[in-house]
Symmetry: C2
Subunit: 336 residues, 2 copies
């Protein structure tokens, strides 16, 4: 091979390995499932401002924290939170060991033939169901029961396994932020174990970046092998409303500069985006897409009312999402 040809190869290699990917990264649309509009523009403008060296709004990499609510923000939460289907399944699994439940509310309601409709249950009822299904067992057994559930359960309206009911535009946003040096935390009122069951595979978010409502635990030894027993009490504060900023501060030791929620439970987390004094962006996903997902403002009335005053960007699913799910739900495929 002549020297001339060998030099030529080095140049080709240089172009392929160094130049081409850099050019492609600059040119490719990082948010292809987002429609052009105020939400997409606000996100692109904010990320450019905080990551451009020399920008007056530049934020050092270590402080680029983004927090996302889970249910209704990263994934569908209707007709019910996916955690509720887990609780129903667990109660039915455990029922043979509790014959008294057949007569006892709220267990009787869940065990009835039409037990999927739990709209009549009070908050206290729900807490009793959570504790009966998820406490007084070991953490290992609990995590295993979540894995079994996630392996087969589906959202009854969308017909998809729960980890497939996450929003494609939000997955793109997580990737985009990570590529710009952000660290992503998922911050949910649910137990963290439920979301850790799929957070790494689905979101690319390591388990330790999932913050939730923790059950109290007791440490025991079985011979030399540790056992963590789940006690029937929550560790305060539960990870909702004002509990979210508190737990974010405790776990992360920093506050987010980007926060994304969808309901009144996220109000304080969205407020918390202002805490660091850095440039920040708070976003509120609005469910207004009955055709492709669900349309409801219930549970988000306060947040929607506060948004203009607080400078939060309201993201209309109907207008901002070019597509909603990576895998179209069966009912939508049939409707075509």
């Amino acid at each position: 091979m002549s020297r001339r040809i060998r030099t030529g190869w080095w140049v080709v290699l240089w172009l392929v390995v160094v130049v081409a990917p850099a050019a492609a990264a600059g040119a490719a649309d990082p948010l292809p499932s987002w429609r052009d509009g105020p939400a997409r523009r606000a996100i692109l403008r904010f990320v450019a401002a905080v990551t451009r060296p020399g920008s007056p709004d530049f934020v050092p990499r270590a402080e680029r924290i983004a927090t996302f609510d889970n249910d209704g923000t990263l994934m569908a939460e209707k007709p019910e939170y996916f955690q509720l289907y887990f609780i129903i399944e667990r109660i039915r699994e455990l029922a043979p060991q509790h014959p008294e439940w057949k007569e006892q509310p709220p267990f009787a309601t869940v065990l009835a033939d039409d037990g999927d409709d739990l709209t009549g249950l009070s908050r206290a009822d729900l807490e009793r169901l959570v504790l009966a299904s998820s406490a007084n067992l070991s953490e290992k057994e609990y995590v295993a029961s979540i894995e079994r559930f996630l392996d087969h359960a589906r959202n009854p309206e969308l017909g998809l396994p729960f980890p497939k009911t996450v929003y494609k535009p939000m997955l793109e946003l997580l990737d985009f932020l990570r590529a710009r040096g952000f660290r992503i935390f998922v911050c949910s009122a649910a137990g963290p174990e439920m979301i850790r069951g799929f957070s790494e595979k689905t979101y690319g978010v390591p388990r330790e970046n999932v913050i939730g409502s923790d059950m109290q635990m007791r440490y025991e030894l079985d011979g030399a092998m540790p056992v963590l027993m789940r006690e029937p009490n929550f560790t305060p504060p539960t990870n909702d409303r004002g509990g979210k900023p508190i737990n974010i501060d405790r776990v992360v030791g920093r506050s987010p500069i980007l926060a994304f929620g969808n309901s009144d439970g996220d109000i304080e987390m969205l407020e918390f985006a202002a805490y660091s004094g850095r440039p920040h962006l708070a976003l509120l996903l609005r469910h207004d897409d009955a055709e492709r997902e669900f349309a409801y403002d219930e549970g988000a009335e306060q947040a929607l009312a506060l948004a203009p005053d607080r400078g939060w960007i309201v993201v209309s699913m109907r207008e901002s999402f070019r597509r909603v799910f990576a895998t179209p739900p069966p009912r939508q495929r049939e409707a075509r």
Copy 2:
């Protein structure tokens, strides 16, 4: 420039950029401050086994969690925990606002001229001092007071700023584990804010990888600006003994395969290294080096007694550490 010379340059560049660092990484000693011996060999053997693809002991990257106690494991804890010097300083700072403290134990003891000797205080006294110095103020004020303290305070025996009292061999171990895909968590009975004040700069450990004993907090708004108020109570469980595995599981969602401690407070964390069922390594640092650091077994008697039975490696500081501190303490420099 001739083609021949330009081709030559490419080859040089290739050697410098690609080949040389790889060769150096293979050849360089990753633990130069460790003396050859059972501890160093156990570490090298374990890390090789769990990271070599195809090894029967291979552990996937996501599960390579290492947890380290702080005081006495990563840094000197004598003559007293560095947190205690912070508490004393805070109590003296706050004393003008509390004239009644002059007559009131345990405050009177701290405010006396010889107030650095707190050996006579009970655990309840210490808790009162912690709460008086670190509660009923905002989290932002608290973090700022820690920064002020770390800026000037020194270990009174070693004569070094506290972040300089960390052990050089342990810093090398953290780097070595990270280079092999481990994620490091510091797990201390102290408040996490104290260690977060230097963890990134000194250990290369991000703030969110520091687990400690959390104070309860209250969320408030000052206009639209959130305030986190520290309440005079701990969030259970405090991060000591059986609280360590519980908090590691809550925060990380995984158990360590390598755990390193130095006292009875670390017993359950060392036991917890066995929890995942993966190959694991638990190490206990023994302070037996009066000349270069301190010699004491107090507070570690139970752990040292359990070590042989549990398979924990006892690491003698005197025998295993080639050098102890990156910056030799002034008293040792004088002694030369």
